[in-house]
């Protein structure tokens, strides 16, 4: 928020004036009010492995993160380029595999990858869209300097927080939205529904029937699944509500079985169809992959998209973007060492205390090492893990992430953040101006995941 010369940064100037005029006690009271709003609306998430804390709140910080319109436009161009490349990449590796033939990506990296689904080879989803919804994780290191951390091309979550954070801010501080021209994010559910409906199978007559597939009320993101279905005005279904009948996926309604045209699934590939993938899955629909391949249902995101956001593939993203768009990537990748390569492994082991090491398939901030904040003992233990399964890890330098202010007991204090804008892909690419800003609430921490004590804040993109 503040420049080196202690003046507020340009996009924050109006907000900063407002903030300076506020009574601190009122803001503290507002902060508690926000928590109450979240609690009563049931905006909670579950933390795996904590039986007694089955419903937790993600801490909300009431100082918005503000991005200027100019900076956003550059960012959005970069994201669009990347998302187009991701879809082209997916279409290619499930068809001609030209990128492999051109020698840009090793064949075994694709074909030996669990996220690569042979069932998708030679199949093109309706509209040729693989990743209907993308949530690109981005960090900012300075003015106009952005790095992509992850592409999240499978089932990015958190969009309900983007919407609820905005809703809460508008309820608590309506005056701020008069003073600042903040671009709206509220129409996301409508855009999502339109976007999904526009990609219904070719044979669908009339208004496409859309449904959201959830693993159920015990899933950590159930709130979000219910919220999105509600906001879109579509049915929320579980695998047990669906059945394959006469070559269509149908749901059990109070009037009998009715067909679904587009399924926005929040269930992982592995669990989607027990006849094709994990036979022990109780969350999926037996036979849905046959219906899919016959072109009678759209699944969003398409099965097999995980190969595009795999952390090992990530390190090739600059090549991928260039290969399919013919241009240099507008957004930078974080330099990445693939521990599967002996030279990289040696470097990583030597510089462990400076690096962040992640599992290739990990998520949620679990199973990673943050070198600069880890103890010597932790580093040594992690080095052993690395040596025994080097292919399972990648390493990245710790970036000097920019910080944004949060409210703390003594006033405001800087904390590290990342940003996840949400992208909808249909015949066009739509990037919602805003996104989810996650904050590492612990002083000095770089880990923003909600399961590891991260919080969120409203994200403003200004109209300018």
């Amino acid at each position: 928020m503040i420049n080196a010369d202690s003046s507020p940064r340009q996009p924050y100037s109006t907000y900063h004036q407002w903030y300076a005029s506020q009574d601190r006690n009122r803001l503290i009271a507002k902060s508690k009010e926000a928590e109450k709003i979240f609690r009563k609306t049931g905006i909670t998430f579950a933390v795996y492995g904590h039986a007694d804390s089955s419903e937790k709140l993600i801490p909300f910080d009431l100082i918005p993160r503000i991005i200027s319109g100019r900076e956003w436009r550059r960012l959005a161009q970069g994201i669009e380029q990347r998302v187009i490349a991701l879809n082209a990449f997916l279409d290619d590796i499930y068809h001609k595999q030209e990128i492999i033939r051109a020698g840009r990506i090793p064949r075994e990296l694709i074909e030996r990858n669990d996220a690569f689904l042979p069932q998708m080879i030679g199949f093109r989803p309706p509209g040729g869209v693989y990743t209907h919804i993308v949530g690109t994780d981005i960090v900012r290191t300075g003015e106009d300097q952005y790095y992509v951390l992850e592409d999240n091309a499978r089932t990015p979550s958190g969009v309900s927080y983007m919407l609820e954070n905005r809703e809460t801010m508008m309820q608590m501080f309506p005056e701020l939205f008069h003073q600042n021209r903040v671009r709206p994010v509220e129409n996301y559910p409508n855009l999502l529904r339109q976007s999904l409906a526009s990609l219904a199978p070719a044979g669908c007559n009339g208004k496409p029937r859309v449904a959201v597939l959830t693993p159920g009320i015990y899933n950590s993101a159930f709130y979000e699944h219910a919220f999105l279905a509600d906001m879109m005005g579509v049915e929320l279904v579980e695998g047990s509500d669906l059945r394959v009948i006469d070559g269509r996926v149908k749901m059990r309604t109070t009037r009998g079985y009715e067909a679904i045209d587009v399924l926005y699934r929040r269930v992982d590939d592995d669990f989607l169809d027990p006849l094709t993938f994990r036979p022990d899955s109780a969350l999926g629909i037996p036979g849905i992959m046959d219906v899919y391949r016959a072109g009678n249902i759209t699944i969003a995101n398409a099965p097999g998209t995980g190969i595009a956001d795999d952390k090992a593939i990530y390190s090739y993203m600059p090549e991928i973007v260039e290969f399919y768009t013919g241009r240099k990537p507008l957004l930078e990748n974080v330099p990445t060492w693939r521990c599967s390569e002996p030279k990289s492994l040696a470097y990583v082991l030597e510089h462990l205390a400076e690096l962040v090491v992640k599992e290739v398939h990990g998520s949620g901030g679990y199973g990673m090492l943050v070198g600069p904040t880890a103890t010597k003992k932790e580093c040594a233990a992690f080095a052993e893990k690395l040596k025994s399964r080097p292919g399972n890890y990648i390493a990245q330098p710790t970036l000097s992430l920019s910080t944004v202010p949060i409210m703390v007991n003594k006033g405001i204090a800087p904390r590290h953040v990342d940003l996840r804008p949400y992208v909808l892909v249909s015949d066009k690419v739509q990037i919602i101006p805003g996104g989810l800003t996650r904050v590492a609430l612990k002083e000095g921490s770089l880990v923003v995941n909600s399961s590891q004590g991260g919080g969120t804040k409203d994200t403003w993109v200004l109209e300018d």
Partner: protein
């Protein structure tokens, strides 16, 4: 709508109704033990029977004391009809069918659950009981208000209402059946003070001790009490009122779906009987037998609705 969603709505509202009913029974029980000098544990025997948990109680407790009975009805998770069990089950169903509810309705039930979980975390003191009962009633009122004020009048509304009235009819019939003997003509020939306490307790159990006076004269008479709770179409907890609502809600569904089920026949038939039979006739036939049959018929209607509209869990 998913058959699972319809089922969830139906049960959500049955549980909310039952929670309120359990609270009302405790209230009536407390009142009775206050007004009677020779207060005995027998009063709680009747209350437990009205809640249909008498046998369950014995599985958990050695003997019958008012403290244990209140705790069992209020917060024991071993009792699926305790206020806390019902609120939790209602809220879990609400969470599952969340997309079918307005934000206001969901928040009302969720806040009810949050508050009651706090209040009922520990065994309640007798001195706190009036406030606790009051809170339950207020919270149930807020849920009802949010529901009526914000929900679309569509199938979601109808399935919710059907759950409410199936449960309410069952509750009222049970309350009457447990106390039917105090309403028998032979006993009531002379209205002793003891009878008066029992009669008032029945009315209190359905929150009708005031409204009774507006409809009948101030004097409590068994036939009038039975009439009020069974046949009076203006009394919101009477069997006739419940069936009037069941028939109209089922009627909306039949029109919207363009098909009728066995449930429609059953509900209309029961309503017809409730309207045509006089209370004297019912008393002549035998009140206990009448109520027993009603409860069975009401259960059958529940099953027919569940089958006709393809409910599942």
């Amino acid at each position: 709508m998913l058959g699972r969603t319809a089922n969830g709505l139906y049960w959500m509202f049955r549980y909310i109704e039952r929670a309120e009913n359990s609270a009302r029974l405790i209230d009536a029980g407390l009142r009775m033990s206050l007004t009677r000098s020779e207060a005995t544990e027998d009063d709680w025997e009747g209350v437990l029977q009205s809640a249909d948990v008498r046998e369950l109680y014995d599985q958990v407790h050695e003997g019958l004391t008012s403290g244990d009975a209140i705790d069992f009805l209020l917060r024991d998770r071993a009792n699926p009809s305790s206020v806390m069990s019902c609120i939790e089950a209602g809220r879990n169903n609400a969470r599952m069918v969340r997309t079918a509810l307005t934000r206001e309705t969901w928040e009302a039930i969720n806040e009810c659950w949050i508050e009651m979980k706090g209040i009922l975390a520990r065994r309640a003191k007798t001195t706190d009981m009036p406030e606790i009962i009051d809170t339950i009633k207020r919270r149930a009122g807020l849920i009802r208000g949010a529901f009526h004020g914000t929900m679309l009048r569509n199938e979601i509304f109808n399935f919710s209402r059907i759950g409410t009235f199936i449960e309410r009819a069952d509750n009222t019939a049970r309350i009457l059946d447990v106390k039917y003997y105090v309403l028998l003509p032979a006993v009531s020939a002379v209205g002793s003070s003891m009878d008066n306490v029992q009669w008032e307790s029945i009315l209190r159990s359905v929150s009708a001790h005031r409204s009774y006076g507006w409809v009948y004269d101030a004097e409590l008479r068994p036939a009038n009490i039975a009439d009020f709770l069974i046949a009076n179409g203006r009394m919101p907890r009477s069997l006739a009122y419940c069936y009037d609502k069941l028939v109209s809600n089922l009627g909306y569904l039949a029109r919207e779906y363009g098909e009728r089920h066995a449930a429609h026949e059953t509900a209309e038939q029961t309503l017809g009987l409730l309207r045509s039979q006089s209370i004297a006739e019912i008393m002549d036939q035998g009140l206990h037998q009448y109520l027993k049959e009603f409860i069975n018929q009401n259960n059958r209607l529940g099953r027919e609705i569940s089958d006709g509209y393809r409910f599942y869990q």
